[in-house]
Symmetry: C2
Subunit: 135 residues, 2 copies
DNA sequence: CTTTCAAATGTTATATTATTACATAGTGTT
DNA sequence: AACACTATGTAATAATATAACATTTGAAAG
């Protein structure tokens, strides 16, 4: 029953870029991707950035704004990639996508006096991870 | 009783950069600042980026990560600049700092199973502002 | 099968954002 | 004065991202 999710019809470049991000244990930068795919025939920034843009639209990856880096979506709840939350360790820089219903419910239903209706959000928490707290 | 907050001892460059950001009704980009302060003797990027860095540390300004732009702090609650929330209109790009106790209380006390203690966060909401909703 | 249209690709050049490195100058304290 | 600390000035370059245009691919319709 695991991995029932269909692997969608990614194009060649999209699949190459996605594979790199998915395999990485940490956020990947665009030019690091570019460097790593030179051997596969992708030679120029636009090819990478286009794939990234599409993958974001599909919700397969997210951009970690404070790091200008990209991670594969782990929560599969944000298929449309419109509600993302991350925890970021300030020492080891580990980034983890937060999947927490209480949090997402709260934020998805948040309204303030401005009269603005929020369709989308990005939240980045900073602190010390368990490991780094010990030191 | 308004504006009791002391105007701190900003250095010359810090004050120049801060004035520009504070006077602007929208987020200001670093190189836009640079362009605007050429006449005041600030000539190179590091001078601007250093001032920005210090102003962020002081909590006088915030960086809007999704836009690589800077806004003056309006809430005066985030002196230490460790908890910021913005609403961003996807059409007119208007950015507003959100000061909402329910939101900040919720986020400041948020904990998840990861065992990570969060000291700081940045939240960016996207949607349509009142004006743009009408069109 | 051919026409068609949208999506994806390839390529060159350039724009935008940010930092490194090193030299110099001001400021307050002992 | 000697010291430490913060801020400044300057040149060069690194890192991130987009513009513009030509070409190819792939699915859908006729
Ligand atoms: Zn996700
Ligand atoms: Zn850590
Ligand atoms: Zn603020
Ligand atoms: Zn608007």
């Amino acid at each position: 029953m695991a991995k029932m999710q269909k692997e969608y019809n990614l194009s060649k470049n999209q699949q190459i870029v996605f594979d790199i991000i998915e395999k990485s244990s940490e956020p990947v930068k665009a030019y690091s991707i570019l460097f790593n795919v030179k051997k596969k025939g992708i030679k120029a920034p636009p090819q990478v950035y286009r794939a990234l843009e599409k993958l974001i639209k599909l919700g397969k990856i997210h951009k970690v704004e404070s790091k200008n880096a990209f991670v594969a979506c782990k929560s599969s709840n944000c298929e449309i990639s419109k509600a993302t939350a991350f925890s970021i360790c300030e020492i080891c820089e580990k980034v983890t996508e937060i999947a927490n219903n209480k949090l997402s419910n709260f934020l998805n239903s948040f309204e303030d006096k401005s009269g603005m209706k929020y369709k989308k959000y990005n939240l980045e928490f900073f602190g010390l991870c368990k490991k780094c707290k010990k030191t």
